[in-house]
Amino acid sequence: MLKDKKTTFLLSIIFFILLFPFVRHDSQDIYNAMPVNDTSIGYYQSTTCNISLFEVYFENFNTENIRYNAHTYAGLECYGKVTGLDKVGDSFIVSIGVNPSISFIIQGLLWCSMLLFIKKSNNRIPKFSNLALLVVPLLIIFQHISESRFYSYENKYFNSDFSTNNYYLLIIFLTVYIFVMLLYYILETRVSNLINYIPYCFLLIGTFVGFNLNFYILILVLLGFNNLIQVGSGFMFNKIYLFFTFFWLLSRYESYTFFDTDKIRGLVNSSNTISSKIYWILVIGLVINGLYYLYQKSEINIPLLTRNLLISGSLMVVFGVMGATSTLINFMNYYFFGQNKIGMLSFESIAGNTWRGFSASAESAGEFYGFVVLSYFLFRFYKKIRFHFFDLPMLGVVIYGLFKTNNFASVSLLAILIVTTIFYSKFASKISKRNLFISLTSFFIIFSILINNKYEYTYLSSELLYEASLHSNLYPNESNYIKTTKVTQLFDDGNLESLFDIQNPGKASSMLTSLVKIYTPNLGIPFVPNIVSVISATSILINRTEMWGIFISKYSPNLVETFFGNGPYQMNNYLYLQEIRLDLPQGRISSLFLPHSSLADLLVFGGVIGTILIIFFTIRLFKETTQNQYFKFLILFLLINFLKSDSILYVGPVLLLFLSIVLTKKNEVINE
């Protein structure tokens, strides 16, 4: 307790020092903050790098239409200060300088210090390799060179030359070098306890400002490097990964496309070059090694994990709400918690149905809140954890967050799994696992039939292909309206061969063409539903027809990519190689369209073989008998949710899935 107080005190001091540039006020300064309005735009644009964030905020405390935006391209002299003012619509956007070179140091130091809160474990982990002090900084330097297009947009100091005067690269090297030493020092005695603090990944998101790098990825790379040195090819995964790497390097990268990373910054390749592909293959390989290392060392502490889940979940809601009410807190959330995307500035939902609040994705936030509630229930039910007075209000806040995200899938799954848990525990001796599985599957099928009953079979089975056709570049010389009319006519006539092979040869993506071939087989097996029809009906059931239709129209892999994918976290070929013409309102055309299914993401990354392998290992995991069988509900909950969301593109959900696997498989569980 005393040590915790000391850590809190130390952290408070660090935090206030770090806050200083944003607060700084000089009474002798001739440049004072002015009310933000039409007449002061010129003033703020001509007095850049003089007025601090807090000065302008307090001068305009009661003005509502001001937003604060992180301006990464500004120099060090502008850190924490206003670098410009623009008017967009009725809102004023105040840009605040947050140079990535200095922010990297500040955020990294702050987040490393946060790790001091993790309880020390009795098991001291022997020897981390000193080689990482050299290799990991060089790896990050390699990223800066290979993703030069991304970094040259973000940092004015960016320079990829190899010279002793290149302070940019030297700063990156030294910063990572210091981080490695700090992390070694901190993790040496805490690595086995790290697992219990994974819930905080949703609160402290850890994406460095102006970097395509995440703090947790850095930690896992470090652990992964040590695992690689200790285990090497003895870890089966590494052999398979090496085999896949050969094919990933054969995938297309000749097109120098660029993805600005948007809300998945920190865990996606921005460029489509061979070097950036190599970087991401190395990093993800190390991350998986790091997870394996963590898995081996982890010691689950159920009561501690419960507290952390509740605290993280409720704080995420609280900070989301605070960010929605105060533009200053919104900016601070972005900077100090390392958000991928600035939080929401209102309580209004997007398109009337979701509120993402603190998180970059409403879906993954909903999944997390659902996970917190479900795990609390399971821990109480099976592990008989003690009830604490604060559990109830925290649970209430988490449930409020779940309600705001309006994640229907998460809520309904939560309800089903809770009921199933109670039911199964009562009748476990009378009902076999197989019967339970059959009952649950039958329930889902009957439920789906009831929901989809109002539609006719042809509509249900072909709607997904129809939607994909509407977004494809068919009839390129015709307007969208005529394209829709012709596509509709041919779908109504069931003449898909004419649509794709005769009237639009080579215009549809290879995925759409393949699915059409599967949908219209020469030989049909009676009573066995067509797989495309099943996917199509499912997409209607879970409201994913449009998103999956866009995915099918966009994804056009060649033969190698079909079987082995494009490589881990490589979205460029999917996003940009296939020419499409979206049938959407003008305002939505330039939006980012991710596949909206983690299975589809896997298909892009690992191809058919990679996806089948992962499905195989998942089934094996479910079939395996473990000491904590009931925690498989947590894995099931996440996996079903992942089927309809892009959650594997975010660090938090991936770590949450890892946590649920460790919970299920690990025997050494510390309990009250």
Binding site: G42, I171, L182
Partner: protein, 105 residues
């Protein structure tokens, strides 16, 4: 406001007779008319971009938008930061390796 007027005069000179500055706003059709009597002035922005001004009005508008005739010599922030980091890294290394040695013993 006086601050701004003096900034404009420093970069663009005194306003020619009959020319009054007004904010053209965000009108996309607004065109700056060249003034043949105005000696071209080069302005720089904070990112080092360069623009040549062909009239006092244009120049005043740019100065209001944050440009200046004085080329801002970049603050060598990266160099400063590097030197600071070098010191920190050296000290941390000494502590780190000494600590490792002690643990071994």
């Amino acid at each position: 406001m006086n601050e701004l007027i003096s900034k404009v005069e420093n970069s663009c000179g005194v306003a020619p007779e009959g020319v009054l500055y007004f904010d053209p706003g965000n009108d996309p059709n607004f065109v700056f008319t060249n003034d043949p009597t105005f000696e071209t002035v080069t302005l720089y922005d904070i990112e080092g971009n360069v623009a040549n001004m062909n009239s006092w009005f244009e120049c005043a508008h740019y100065v209001n938008g944050g440009w200046s005739s004085a080329q801002i010599i970049n603050f060598q922030g990266d160099k400063f930061l590097f030197l600071a980091l070098l010191v920190v890294a050296s000290v941390t290394s000494i502590i780190y390796f000494m600590n490792k040695k002690n643990v071994k013993r």
